[in-house]
């Protein structure tokens, strides 16, 4: 009886050696990126890219070019904001260019769901910044790069429906640190107040579908 049990365990062990279709390995170039998206990325970002926790950005419907740039930035440590290095440096460190492109493609074709609405005063203040910018603070209107529907354009990310808390934290990263170099955002944010950031982020989180 004992021998059968040990043999069974050994067989199970051997059977489990390779499992490309349901692998959570992050250093195997043969794994289909969609498998990685389902088995690993979904834990934080959701299986369809609509993450539940504001600790993790929504990726559904994000610009593919932007996603590739972020994953490459994590892998090279070029992007070093805390949320980046604490979670994403390890995830991305051994991904191949093909897997990065595949992951970006997977999330870019997911459908973004609406996010939590905010108060009317915050919506109004945020809409004003989105549409008109704040000229006295040298802040251009967001839509000029991020699109009239905040859907993004190429390297400029989709913002519509993104978690307010995440957007505010990233705006502070742009303003106060060198954690995300190589974008116009440092100049855009350099005179923004925290309240400005909260207002525009709240508007973007609740971005009306019919805008």
């Amino acid at each position: 009886m004992k021998e059968i049990c040990f043999a069974s365990v050994a067989m199970l062990a051997l059977a489990g050696c390779t499992n490309l279709e349901r692998s959570r390995d992050l250093a195997n170039p043969d794994i289909n990126p969609e498998v990685t998206a389902l088995q690993v990325c979904s834990n934080c970002h959701g299986v369809d890219g609509n993450s539940v926790s504001p600790n993790f950005p929504r990726l559904a419907g994000q610009q593919e070019v932007y996603l590739v740039a972020q994953l490459e930035g994590f892998r090279s440590h070029h992007r070093s904001d805390p949320a980046g290095y604490e979670y994403m440096w390890g995830i991305s460190r051994s991904l191949t260019d093909g897997q990065i492109k595949g992951l970006a493609e997977y999330f870019s074709r997911q459908t973004a769901k609406s996010n939590i609405a905010t108060t009317e005063p915050q919506m109004a203040a945020g809409r004003k910044i989105f549409e008109q910018g704040i000229p006295e603070k040298e802040t251009a209107p967001c839509f000029a790069c991020h699109g009239a529907n905040a859907e993004g354009m190429g390297a400029f990310p989709r913002l519509a429906g993104q978690h307010e808390d995440y957007l505010v934290k990233q705006l502070h990263v742009f303003q106060e640190t060198e954690g995300r170099p190589g974008t116009p955002m440092k100049q855009i944010t350099h005179l923004l107040s925290h309240d400005d950031m909260v207002n525009v982020a709240g508007f973007l989180q609740a971005f009306p579908a019919s805008h």
Partner: protein, 472 residues
Amino acid sequence: MQGPMAQRIARVFGKSWVVITVFIAVLTLLPADGWALPLFARQTGQNCLACHAGGQFPELTPYGRKFKLTGYTMGERATVPLAVMGVASSAKVASTAGSSDIEADFPHNGRFEFTTASVLCCGKITDNIGTFIQWTWDRFDHLNDQGSWVSKSHADQIDLRYADRFIDKNQDLIVGLSLNNNPGVADVWNTHNSAFTPVPTYVPVSNPSGNAGGPFVDVPAMPIIQSLGQASAGATAYAFWNNTIYGEFGLYKAADKAFSAFGEVPAGEIDSFLRLKGLNPYWRLALNHDWGANSAMVGLHGMSAETYSDAEDMSSPTARFTNYGIDGQYQYILDPHVVTAMFSYTHEKQRYADALWNTSNPEYLGAFANSSNTLDYVRAKLTYVYQAKYGAALAYSSIRGSSDSILYSNPAAVPNSRLWAPEVFWNPVQYVRVGVQYFMWNQYLGAKSNYDGNGRNAKDNNTLFLYVWAAY
């Protein structure tokens, strides 16, 4: 007899204030980013806080729960799958009055010393198999006949897993099998059985009551489900469906024969009434929900166990333990704040073989005054951590039991004890934790004052516990 090197080390560690000051000075000079990462972090490349709520151990984040449930297989297999962990601590009891042998009753009282080290062999083996295997060395395991402390190394938490995950847009099913040596160690909410310590604060230190930590950092009795760690070996099967329903069922036996390696001591040396007879079922059901930055769980747990009164004699009379319990956890995790609230209640009914309690039985052994007894064990803890660096916690632990004048030798003949334990702690870097806990007893063995008949009060057992924990 200690050699010259050991004596020199003992003299250094004996000067506790020097040790603490130097240690903290060194810690403040270390870089804030954790380049040196313990083993799971080396496997995933992530910071500890990705899996561990606020950088606490073992409290898991929702992501950390998935890492454990999928068999520790996320990431890339580490080249050297080893990690080490160590604890230095001091426990100072409020009063040693009435003791005729202070060193025996209150070992190393107030002395800050290096007490415990562990080696862990862990992590991903294949795409479906992973392990958590801990081997621990306790510097002050027991006193020998000459009155000197003897160290010992032994098996600690063991969890060998096979897991798979079937996930698509419509559903998510994680299934697995765990071979382990502690009912509840396979669980991922660390509520009804913290696998790392029985103390209510779930601090990742060795059980101080056995190792220069003093006897009063835990309640004096607890149900079987929290008592079988490293005395048992079991296999449990589990499933987690749609991040919502978790079920686990398994069977545990004594850690003997082929499973001796799972045991902390040889099977014949297992404590009375902790060596299992045959196969004993453990079960667990939990409901989980994540929304926004919140995560909440409510669950049920239970076990039915039969154990020998004499671990060396398989024909000795047995006792039966039936445990039922409810537990829960709430977490709020949104950088820089982490709040964790945990709760667990276990009810136990103990029933004894006739010879253990019945004075009319010709083989009467006089272990109990009653044919059955009960225990009710409650634990709760609330923790707040800021930036995964600065934390505070308040824990409560209570044991209540039926009266039995033979089982409990104290005048009140009950185990009833209540404990509050506030704590503050600091993680200067993610792999080091410095903290202080104060264990405050409102009641001990059934009384607030004079619980032993010799004038000792519950608050005389209050213990100030200071620790430094590090892992690599």
